[in-house]
């Protein structure tokens, strides 16, 4: 039966995606950037919308929420998966409201104004059936995918406004977004980059090699030298794993040190992060194993802790550069309310 075949094929794809995610976490699978994860999650969600059986928006949202919970449980540290699920849920709500012809979809959030003027129950259980809903949702998801493909380019286009000639820029670890940003500026400006190597996996080395291939003068420094070198730095530009709702960051370990050193020297800290990294979640601690790097005699005698991420509070950040432009950290709450619906914060 073709229906059953599609269902099994769909569940196979979801299972394959889940196992990819789990493997990435332990470092065994292919190391993929968060942009690819976001794109694959969105295509998978588009496939679910197209192939799963649902008759109204409420059912579809339930299915997507269920799959979303499974995917985020598979790899909790990869927040882009959850973010894309929430984006798609918001898309479904918007398309539903548009099909119903209601004009108040612009302000679905709770507000004082809504409290005063709403008459009667505002319960909307999305049970009405619309024939064109599927096509509209899939079209909107396609638009989302196009947006995702263009994010790195949109961010790099803003590079020339922020990087000037003969500047010394500091960065940490390896961020594909920052790499593209700096390379774009290097086409027209000459500047110097200092990369903190970011122990223990030393991703900074790869970043430095890649930048120097584009004829950018690069220096690699150990993490301990960050404070010492900071007085000669004009700007700090970093990437991040996640942007939290209060404007803080969850970034690779060592970033908080970098941010504090920059604050001390009054050096501007610029974060290049595409919109799909914005997450309404709370801070959690993730530990990664790095025991294989320690010599054997030490391992038996000590406890080794290696946190994967740092929390950077919003007061240390000067500017966020995303695919929709530059924003202050105090504005992030507003961007988040435009991207996600408050009921979807908890999947």
């Amino acid at each position: 039966m073709p229906g059953a075949d599609k269902e099994t094929e769909l569940s196979e794809r979801i299972e394959a995606f889940l196992s990819e995610l789990k493997r990435c976490g332990s470092g065994a699978g292919s190391l993929r950037g968060s942009a690819e994860t976001a794109r694959e999650t969105t295509s998978l969600l588009r496939r679910i919308t197209a192939q799963a059986r649902w008759s109204n928006a409420g059912d579809l949202m339930e299915i997507i929420r269920k799959e979303g919970r499974r995917m985020t449980a598979g790899q909790p540290s990869e927040t882009t998966v959850g973010n894309m699920v929430r984006r798609v849920l918001k898309i479904i709500r918007e398309e539903y409201a548009r099909s119903r012809g209601s004009t108040e979809e612009a302000d679905q959030q709770e507000s004082l104004h809504k409290l005063l003027t709403s008459g009667g129950s505002s319960e909307d259980n999305f049970r009405q059936h619309f024939t064109h809903l599927k096509a509209n949702v899939i079209e909107a998801i396609n638009e989302l995918l196009t947006e995702l493909e263009g994010t790195t380019d949109n961010i790099s286009m803003q590079a020339l406004e922020h990087i000037h000639s003969n500047e010394v820029i500091m960065t940490i670890g390896r961020s594909r977004t920052v790499e593209a940003f700096l390379k774009d500026a290097a086409r027209k400006r000459k500047f110097h980059v200092i990369v903190a190597e970011c122990a223990p996996f030393c991703q900074g080395h790869e970043m430095a090699t890649s930048l120097s291939k584009e004829d950018i003068e690069t220096t690699v420094i150990p993490d301990a030298a960050i404070f010492a070198v900071m007085s000669r730095v004009n700007k700090v530009i970093i990437g991040t794993q996640t942007v939290l709702a209060n404007g803080g960051l969850r970034a690779v370990n060592g970033t908080h040190t970098l941010a504090l050193a920059a604050k001390h020297h009054s050096t501007p800290l610029i974060v290049c992060a595409p919109m799909f990294k914005l997450s309404p979640q709370r801070i959690q601690i993730f530990l990664r194993s790095f025991c294989f790097l320690l010599p054997g005699e030490i391992l038996s005698k000590v406890n080794a802790h290696c946190p994967v991420f740092d929390y950077v509070p919003p007061e240390l950040i000067t500017l966020f550069i995303s695919n929709i432009g530059g924003n202050a950290p105090s504005y992030i709450y507003r961007l988040m309310s435009e991207l996600y619906h408050p009921e979807d914060h908890e999947l």
């Binding site: 507000s111 004082l112 409290l115 005063l116 008459g119």
Partner: protein
């Protein structure tokens, strides 16, 4: 005749507070104003508004807290918005009464919503510092305790009315370990605590808060020690004030109603409230969600513009 109706209004308001001491004063004020609306005899919407304004002024004279003022202004705004949609008085009044009841029901639930939002920020083993007696903070701590979290609470005595001791008694009844500290001991105790949670009498446009005297001190101390300073407040406490410093807060909020009427030289009196600027506040927990101080003015603009 008019004095008679406003007198009844004040009595109704006082009765509300007597019967249910747990109710927020703004909720009691709005309930009384709704009753007043039902019994009002004006023939035009303008007359209705005028009567309402006088009634609100009378209520403010009875209880000079910021919350009553913000509740009253919200109700007035509510009338203006509804009267714009329905220009005919009798129809307008019915819609107003219906919406008013709904509004009242929603805001009676707001304390519960805030409690649910905030208690997840309290971790196991946390030491919390709070100031004076706030029913919202009590609700938050109640929810956290019901969630089987272990934490200890330090409460400041909060002179001149020793409201902190009342709070300590209530927390003791919930089996939460609590210690009362002197107002002057805030700096001393700050290194021990993990976070500070206070209530608010009013939340101003800048995102700052107006609360019992001593809150500003606590906020400055917590900033110096890098401890998070959380404010919990329901959304009907948002008020259209923008004080730039302590002197900017209007006198009618600073002192109790009877003192304002009897005393000649206010400089000799102790103010009951102070203003905490938004730069010292980490997050605000309201029934509209968890807001950063910069998001508060957004909410107010959405309502009043």
């Amino acid at each position: 005749m008019e004095k008679d109706t406003t007198q009844k209004l004040v009595e109704y308001f006082r009765a509300q507070i007597r019967e249910d001491p747990d109710v927020a004063s703004a909720v009691a004020a709005i309930r009384s104003l709704l009753e007043f609306l039902k019994r009002d005899q004006s023939e035009t919407i303008l007359g209705l508004r005028e009567n309402m304004t006088k009634a609100i002024q009378r209520l403010e004279e009875t209880d000079s807290s910021v919350a009553v003022s913000s509740g009253g202004e919200l109700f007035l705004r509510f009338i203006s918005l509804t009267s714009l949609e329905h220009p005919d008085l009798s129809q307008c009044k019915n819609v107003m009464i219906e919406r008013g009841e709904l509004f009242l029901k929603k805001i009676s639930l707001s304390r519960g919503k805030v409690g649910k939002l905030c208690h997840t920020f309290i971790k196991d083993g946390a030491k919390i510092l709070t100031h004076s007696s706030s029913r919202v903070v009590l609700k938050v701590l109640e929810n956290a305790a019901a969630d089987n979290k272990r934490f200890t609470v330090y409460v400041t005595e909060s002179q001149p009315d020793s409201a902190g001791k009342l709070m300590a008694q209530k927390l003791h009844n919930l089996n939460i370990p609590v210690t009362v500290v002197l107002d002057a001991a805030v700096g001393y105790i700050m290194e021990k605590v993990d976070l500070v949670i206070v209530g608010a009498e009013g939340v101003v446009e800048s995102g700052g808060v107006i609360n019992k005297i001593g809150t500003y001190q606590m906020a400055v101390c917590s900033k110096a020690h890098n401890k998070p300073f959380y404010v919990v407040a329901e959304s009907f406490k948002f008020v259209r004030l923008y004080p730039l410093n302590q002197q900017d807060v209007p006198d009618r909020f600073k002192y109790k109603a009877d003192i304002l009427k009897t005393v000649k030289d206010l400089n000799q009196e102790h103010p009951m409230i102070d203003y905490t600027p938004p730069s010292l506040i980490t997050l605000l927990f309201t029934d509209l969600g968890v807001l950063t101080p910069s998001a508060v003015s957004d909410e107010l603009i959405k309502l009043y513009l």
